[in-house]
Amino acid sequence: MSLFHQAARPLNPLSWIALPALLCVLATILLGVPLRLWGLSLPEPVFALVPAFAWAVIRPSVLPALFLLLLGLFMDIFWGGPLGLWPLGLLAAYSLVLANRAGMIGQSGVVLWAWYAAAALTAETACLLLSMLDAHAAPNLVAVLWQYLATAALYPFAHILIQRYEDADVRFR
């Protein structure tokens, strides 16, 4: 078997899709603990945006959309929100990255972080607008901003995932 065939072998979905999704579920449950320190609650970042960004950058695939739907549904159920809200937010961010991935490949970490921040902003904006339509009320923008900042700070995890798998399939470099 030639070296080319080894490099072009498809990634194992268990390692680059299922495992990060499971870690996101565990992190979401862990951050759901009702802890309050000095009058302040823990932040509530959207962990699922990390794989949503990384999966689109690593390579296009059919499975990430399905996993993002499932991850979003889990978040909606676990957080008690309207069913379908976070799947749409995650898929909006994923679609944005997927459509622009040609411009992201090979870029530095700072540029990717900026793209990740844009994806997080897309997800938060989508959820904001959908919430306004669903509940006929405007969510608190300060609360949205806090969640956005907490989510944007999670980029290093996405960077680790990208670094680990972006060279696994050279057809999509």
Binding site: I29, L30, G32, V33, P34, L35, R36, S41, L42, E44, R59, P60, S61, V62, L63, P64, A65, L66, L68, L69, G72, L73, F74, D76, I77, F78, W79, G80, G81, P82, L83, G84, L85, P87, L88, L91, Y94, S95, L98, C127, L128, L130, S131, D134, A135, A137, A138, P139, N140, V142, A143, V144, W146, Q147, F172
Partner: protein
């Protein structure tokens, strides 16, 4: 023959397009779910099987995860209590002095209130049973503010039951399963709570927005509120009993009135679920209709009233916004008791109705 060696061996799947189509299909599925979701309604069936299953499984898991946090908090409290015992003792003594005056006033007012109730034959609110629970998980994002409490249908908790911390109202139950209840907080964007300003009696709808201070909407009248006014539940809609402490009115920088929640003053670890049923839900219409109403004229014969069929079970209003449900069962019954208006709405059915005062007897004619 494998697929790679067959006629499709040269077929190349455009993965970019396939990924885009998969995303589009997932978006359509998520959109359909969002349009069909009715989590904020008070219908028990709106809380689907998936949510119940996740709550039932996630409840114990979150309980285990929350245990170390709870132990740490207790340890920190113990250390703090040890070091600040003297100042705490001084503060509590002063608080006792302040509260003794309130206690004396409360005793006097309770006595006067009981006499008024007896004189007027009012039906007062019944004692509301409650269930204590521990909060094991919470969602505090801008789009959902809920908590998971470790009590459920096995203790009689139902959808719509009000939930309080030791400081005040925090929300209502929107989902129940075995061993867990989902509480929609007052701050959730889907939360709407009928409240009143204690000083003026002005009504408002407390509307959550994901922030810590929900808005007081539809506040009307001349000078309806001032900063610091107490905000209580109004009982309108029948979901909450009247008079539960909510918070104090504050004016936001944008000029709108908001409520600073009492429950926000301390961590919410333990909660009380009020197993509250409105008068309209507990009233036995058959029993009410069985007794003949008093005669129209003094000395006349009682009016016969057709007995309506008794409902099999008490039903609950689907939504406070619908305006029905509050005593609607009683209001729909052709019976004089149904016309007791606001008090019938907020009163309870725990006590038997006061006896109807006898009709006034005509004064005897003066004898020469």
């Amino acid at each position: 023959m494998s697929l790679r060696e067959g006629p499709f061996q040269d077929l190349k799947v455009p993965l970019g397009w396939a990924a885009a189509i998969a995303a589009a299909v997932a978006v359509v599925a998520a959109l359909a779910l969002l349009l069909s979701d009715r989590r904020e309604t008070m219908q028990a069936q709106a809380y689907g099987a998936a949510r119940k299953t996740v709550d039932a499984i996630g409840g114990p898991v979150s309980g285990v995860l929350a245990a170390p946090v709870r132990w740490t908090g207790a340890a920190v409290d113990s250390v703090g209590g040890y070091f600040f015992a003297v100042s705490e003792n001084r503060r509590l003594k002063q608080q006792i002095v302040d509260l003794q005056a309130w206690r004396d006033q409360a005793i006097a007012l309770r006595n006067v209130n009981a006499r008024y109730e007896a004189l007027l034959g009012l039906r007062v609110q019944p004692e509301v049973p409650m269930v204590a629970a521990r909060v094991i998980a919470e969602a505090r994002g801008p789009f959902s503010n809920t908590r998971l409490a470790d009590t459920g249908s096995e203790h009689g908790v139902e959808v719509g039951n009000p939930v309080l911390s030791e400081r005040g109202l925090i929300g209502r139950v929107v989902g129940v399963t075995q061993g867990a209840s989902r509480v929609l907080l007052l701050t959730d964007i889907a939360s709407r709570t009928p409240v009143l300003i204690d000083r003026t009696g002005a009504r408002a709808i407390l509307t959550g927005d994901g922030g810590p201070t929900p808005r007081l909407e539809y506040l009307r009248g001349q000078d309806p509120a001032r900063p610091g006014d107490r905000v209580l539940t109004s009982g309108d809609g029948g979901v909450f009993p009247r008079g539960l402490p909510v918070g104090v009115a504050v004016k936001a920088v944008d000029g709108t009135w908001r409520a600073k929640l009492d429950s926000d003053a301390a961590p919410i670890d333990f909660v009380r679920v009020l197993l509250f049923k409105d008068f309209g839900q507990v009233v036995d219409t058959a029993k009410l209709s069985a007794s003949a109403p008093p005669p129209v004229t003094p000395g006349g014969t009682p009016v016969a009233v057709p007995t309506p069929p008794a409902p099999s079970t008490a039903t609950r209003s689907p939504s406070p916004a619908s305006g029905g449900g509050v005593g609607s069962g009683a209001a729909a019954t052709p019976h004089p008791l149904a016309g007791e208006g606001d008090h019938a709405k907020h009163g309870g059915g725990g006590k038997p109705p006061a006896p109807t005062p006898p009709p006034p007897t005509p004064a005897p004619a003066p004898t020469p």
